[in-house]
């Protein structure tokens, strides 16, 4: 039997799923065509806030190919169906019902008001133009502070307020630290800043799409989603379809970035229409609809106060957030700021901390998870503040950080926010990054350019970040009132010929699970990489799962896989002993073989699989199966960290920023596949840099999204990116047997403050101490002209 010689884990294997993904010859939801299938198109409100006076669908019904034109009255006559929110962060959180289609009032531009079912997608689209909707304008509220002001127009009149919830953490009250007000009033130095996290659009590559087939024994839903399992539970609860009568499939999914952690009104709509008409239906959105209606990310106003001693010891941190929910609450939207609540203190030993967040309704597209969700916002704020504090104190920003961070010999370390960081080595990552970057050399060049009044100034930005990954310990989620647990499942099936089928409950949508999971199983069971197939995303063969987000798949799902593999070995061992006629205690397992200790007698696991299948000669009372399941619930998060250094050149005459060099040294724990890690870092950096310099979703005063295409929404291209220098240190996580931490969000979390810090650093001597993101040439130029904010 073949046994893999060198370990698979750690190999830079090309991803086995890529050939089919990049050629498009695969099961994207939109590629699915069923007999008799109808196509849906949704009529969307052009108004951000209006009463619906009337909807006339008669002309549209007469259009060629149209089978039905339906409104809220048809789909949900009693107005009972509301889109779920799984994270009621406070008992009194206000949660307005979000209907499948608006019945009486639209609350953001893009909200659906009617749906056409037609024989072709083009006919459905054409018919939309013949639906007449009469709207009566309602006052629009877009700005969070305006929304909270006395007498503001209300997004939801019946709530009597635009405030959804207030959530507070206070280290004094929680017993995890001191009283922050005291710390601030006693402080030798204190600084207050306001940062705006602009609204971003998670521009996943594959627009969303759903196919629903009502004709089989189960209602089958295919959807381009990150969360097939959660979608199944939520669809059952939302529509009252018994869960066992529902099958949800996430076929190949072309990216999500958090934008597909959602239960969509369109998914519910498709199910309702399919059931009503008794035919399969498909809904696939246009790019424009994706930009307008898929939930947006970020959109917070952060008021931050930091206090410190003159010699640079941070004594307190106070955070007041406003978080824009948009017009309704998304699936986990209210909790996104909470994912940041534990991260503002970052890698620093801060003795007193308070966090308060007010979630606000406005007449805009809803916001929800977007790559990093809460953690990039927190990291940005603290890393910007550390730079500002360093400037205030006249210290080198790296030195200030070093003074305050947790030293490697202090782990495990319980933070002021109550988390216990299991491991880390900030010194090592920073030292390596400084070398690669030539920190001292660049500082010298910066001085020279300042001295010579060079029109192009150089700035150095730092971000020493950490993040909580591996979401999440179920008990922690419970304490935060999240609606579900954070475990993950895995099953391993040993097939008669020795091949292996692996089923994971996490749901890949571009991450490369099939490759990484195969590498893990290959090592655990000692079978060849090629003999392993990884399956995911279909509730029929993978009934249990918590899906993919929060850099959790490997730390949680990968661990479940290891546990399942160990069980397979436990089950195989007695059979192997029986086959070799020796005692179980004399068996050794290495390289895919059970060997009688001290002999050359052995049997391979793949042969054991055949013997178990045949079941002719098994130990007495042996249950004839090697198949094993495992569910893993982590006891703690994992905490990737790293040091990112960015040098930018700022043309002070035009405000143009160009990244001269970017070095990151990340510690993501053990690496299963360096190629995948590298890819995640590169993509993450691009996305984080995009927030710093390019992207912003803008609404005009009537609430129309003015950045609704890629021509207006500045998603950067490869031409805008620098060459990244990446490296790693490896401090294994101690909270899972693989020692892994997660890498899906690191780049996004770390890079935004590194870039903005470098821009400010370049022009600080010109009197600039903040520039609102994105740091576009215009903003940078204006800041320089203004000499201050």
């Amino acid at each position: 039997m073949t046994a893999t010689a060198e370990p698979e884990v750690g190999k830079a294997r090309l991803r086995k799923e890529d050939a089919r993904l990049i050629t498009g010859r695969t099961r994207w939801t939109d590629n699915i065509t069923l007999p008799g299938m109808l196509h849906l198109a949704v009529l969307r409100s052009p108004m951000a806030h209006a009463r619906i006076v009337s909807i006339d669908t008669s002309a549209a019904r007469d259009m060629p190919g149209v089978v039905a034109v339906l409104t809220a009255t048809d789909l949900d006559p009693d107005g009972e169906i509301g889109m779920p929110c799984a994270w009621p962060i406070t008992p009194d959180m206000r949660h307005p019902r979000r209907p499948v289609l608006a019945a009486t009032e639209v609350n953001f531009a893009g909200e659906g008001v009617a749906v056409v079912a037609a024989r072709s997608a083009a006919e459905a689209e054409d018919a939309l133009e013949h639906i007449e909707v009469e709207y009566e304008d309602l006052p629009v509220v877009l700005d969070m502070e305006a929304a909270l002001a006395e007498g503001a127009p209300l997004v939801h009149e019946d709530l009597g307020t635009n405030r959804s919830a207030l959530w507070v953490f206070d280290s004094g009250e929680a017993g995890t630290g001191g009283d922050v007000e005291q710390a601030i009033s006693d402080a030798e130095v204190k600084l207050t800043r306001r940062f705006r996290q602009q609204r971003l659009i998670p521009a996943f590559m594959e627009p969303r799409s759903t196919v629903v087939d009502p004709t089989g024994p189960q209602l089958t839903v295919w959807s381009s989603t990150q969360i097939p399992h959660i979608l199944r539970v939520m669809t059952a609860m939302t529509l009252g379809v018994p869960e066992h009568k529902l099958r949800v499939v996430a076929p190949d999914v072309g990216g999500g970035f958090g934008g597909k952690i959602a239960v969509l009104p369109e998914e519910m709509m498709a199910a309702l229409v399919a059931r009503k008409l008794g035919k399969p239906v498909k809904w696939t959105e246009s790019r424009s609809d994706a930009m307008l209606t898929a939930h947006h990310g970020r959109d917070q106003i952060q008021d931050i106060t930091i206090s410190a001693t003159r010699d640079g010891m941070v004594t307190g941190l106070k955070v007041d957030l406003l978080a824009d929910m948009g017009a309704y609450l998304g699936l986990v939207g209210p909790g996104v700021p909470l994912l940041g609540a534990f991260m503002f203190n970052a890698i620093y030993k801060i003795p007193a901390y308070r966090f308060a967040c007010t979630n606000v309704f406005t007449n805009k597209t809803l916001t929800d998870a977007y790559r990093g969700a809460g953690r990039p916002e927190a990291t940005f704020a603290i890393e910007r503040m550390m730079d500002e504090l360093a400037a205030e104190l006249g210290m080198d920003p790296l030195e200030l950080r070093e003074k305050n961070w947790i030293r490697h010999d202090e782990f495990p370390f319980t933070t002021v926010a109550g988390l216990t960081y299991d491991s880390g080595n900030y010194e090592a990552a920073t030292e390596r990054a400084k070398q690669l970057f030539d920190y001292d050399g660049l500082r010298r060049e910066q001085q020279a350019r300042r001295a010579s009044n060079d029109p192009v100034q150089l700035g150095i930005g730092i971000s020493t970040y950490t993040e909580m990954c591996g979401l999440a310990p179920s008990r922690v989620l419970g304490s935060l009132a999240y609606g579900a647990g954070g475990w993950e499942s895995a099953s391993i099936r040993m097939l008669p010929t020795g091949k292996v089928e692996v089923v994971t409950g996490s749901s890949a949508h571009g991450q490369g699970h099939e490759t990484a999971w195969s590498q893990i199983v290959a090592d655990q069971l000692g079978v060849p990489f090629e003999d392993i197939e990884v399956l995911h995303g279909d509730t029929q063969f993978s009934p249990k799962g918590m899906d993919t987000y929060g850099s959790r798949s490997l730390a949680v799902g990968g661990t479940a896989l290891v546990l399942a593999a160990r069980r397979v070995l436990d089950k195989a061992k007695p059979v192997a002993a029986h086959m070799l006629e020796c005692s179980v205690d004399d068996m050794e397992f290495t390289g895919g073989k059970f060997t009688v200790q001290g002999t050359d007698q052995s049997v391979g696991i793949q042969d054991v699989a055949l013997a178990v299948f045949a079941a002719h000669d098994l130990p007495d009372g042996y249950e004839a199966s090697l198949d094993s399941d495992a569910t893993f619930d982590p006891e703690n998060f994992s905490y990737p960290h790293g040091t990112h250094l960015c040098a930018t050149e700022v043309d002070t005459e035009t405000g143009r920023v160009s990244i001269r060099s970017y070095v990151c040294v990340d510690d993501v724990g053990k690496v299963v596949n360096p190629l995948i890690v590298e890819g995640q870092i590169h993509g993450g950096l691009a996305q984080g840099i995009a927030q710093a310099l390019y992207e912003e979703a803008v609404h005009d005063e009537s609430g129309t999204l003015t950045t609704g295409t890629f021509a207006d929404y500045y998603l950067p291209s490869a031409a805008d990116m620098p060459t990244f220098v990446t490296d790693r240190t490896e401090t294994p996580s101690t909270t899972n047997p693989l020692g892994v931490k997660g890498v899906g969000e690191a780049g996004t979390i770390a890079s935004t403050p590194a870039v903005v810090n470098s821009v400010i650093d370049a022009v600080r001597h010109m009197g600039v101490d903040d520039i609102e993101m994105p740091c576009s040439p215009m903003r940078v130029w204006q800041a320089i002209q203004g000499g201050a904010r």
């Binding site: 054409d126 133009e129 129309t704 500045y714 291209s717 031409a719 805008d720 040439p777 130029w781």
Partner: protein, 331 residues
């Protein structure tokens, strides 16, 4: 999108007679602009005359040293053509800084000339826009007008012509050849696009039934020292905030030939004749470049959203001229 009739023309007479009979017909080039506009119901032609099969795809040297470019030459082909790269580098550069590779592979010379503005209210059928719906007003005035014009604007419209290619053509004194059932006309590039005035929906001097058949470039020796610079918000796939096409000859220290055109600042590619006048015969110094730029932009009118463009245009002119001096020296 409204349904429409489709006609495919194989020769020019068929194309022009097909359009002559139907006032609401449109020619289809690469479709990269027209199809988008039709999808959004901004353009609603009842007939599409597909001209992509017309034999107007040559790039040929003329006896007088100029070059004739067929209206259906694709943008990427034109930019890569050896005649253009060697004699009119500014045109290659301008094209390559526009759109994306995929779009340039589709886009034609004729379509590029006639592409419509990127004003966002023009695209939003719920907004007031004199260009799309004459007399309805202009939401860009007082709205989001960061990308809008500062030269030749009217109270009815602030839109810019978004083309990069056309800026180079204007600088090169190109001529546009057009044909209808009434015959052939030649329109100087500078008269091809028109300012908005009271009729912002009228964008060119082309009649509705005229087909662009070719663009001719005269022989321009100074074009060998030419440069296109585009300032925009992202390094690809973005329209110009300001762009400058320039060619310069300096003899000794005196400017002996100069051509200058601006993009992103007006409803037409803006030939900067005032700046040229200041520069011609002046010393090739930073000082004269600045004076020339200021002279050109003296007539600029900006709104609070786009006033930055005046300074940006001035500085970009100076920067490009400065570069051409250095480059000319090296050559």
């Amino acid at each position: 999108m409204k349904s429409f009739a489709y006609v495919s023309a194989r020769d020019v007479p068929t194309a022009v007679s097909a359009i002559a009979g139907s006032p609401n017909a449109k020619f289809l080039g690469g479709g990269t602009n027209l199809v988008d506009l039709m999808r959004g119901n901004i353009e609603q032609p009842d007939t599409i005359v597909d001209i992509t099969r017309l034999p107007l795809t040559g790039v040929d040297l003329l006896p007088d040293g100029g070059v004739r470019i067929g209206a259906l030459v694709r943008n990427s082909h034109l930019a890569a053509h050896p005649l253009i790269r060697s004699r009119y580098p500014v045109l290659s550069q301008a094209i390559l800084l526009g759109a994306s590779a995929q779009l340039r592979n589709m886009a034609t010379v004729g379509g590029n000339l006639l592409q419509r503005t990127r004003c966002l209210y023009f695209y939003d059928t719920a907004a007031a826009c004199n260009k799309r719906a004459p007399g309805s007003g202009c939401d860009a005035i007082g709205g989001f007008n960061r990308n809008h014009a500062i030269l030749g604007v009217s109270d009815n419209c602030l839109a810019t012509h978004p083309s990069d290619m056309c800026v180079a053509l204007a600088m090169l004194d190109a001529t546009v050849e057009v044909e209808s059932t009434r015959g052939v006309r030649r329109i100087p590039m500078n008269e091809f696009h028109v300012l908005p005035g009271d009729t912002p929906h009228v964008e060119t001097s082309l009649a509705a039934d005229e087909l662009v058949t070719a663009v001719e470039l005269p022989s321009v020796a100074v074009a060998a020292n030419s440069r296109y610079r585009k300032v925009r918000d992202r390094a690809s796939y973005a329209f110009a905030l300001v762009s400058v096409a320039a060619a310069l000859e300096v003899t000794g220290t005196t400017v002996t030939q100069v051509r200058l055109a601006l993009g992103g600042v007006s409803a037409k590619p803006w030939r900067a004749t005032k700046a040229e006048e200041v520069l011609l015969g002046a010393p090739a110094t930073e000082e004269s470049f600045r004076q020339a730029a200021a002279a050109e932009l003296a007539a600029a009118t900006a709104r609070p959203g786009n006033e930055f463009k005046i300074g940006l245009a001035e500085r970009t002119i100076v920067a490009v001229l400065r570069e051409l001096v250095t480059k000319g020296d090296a050559a």
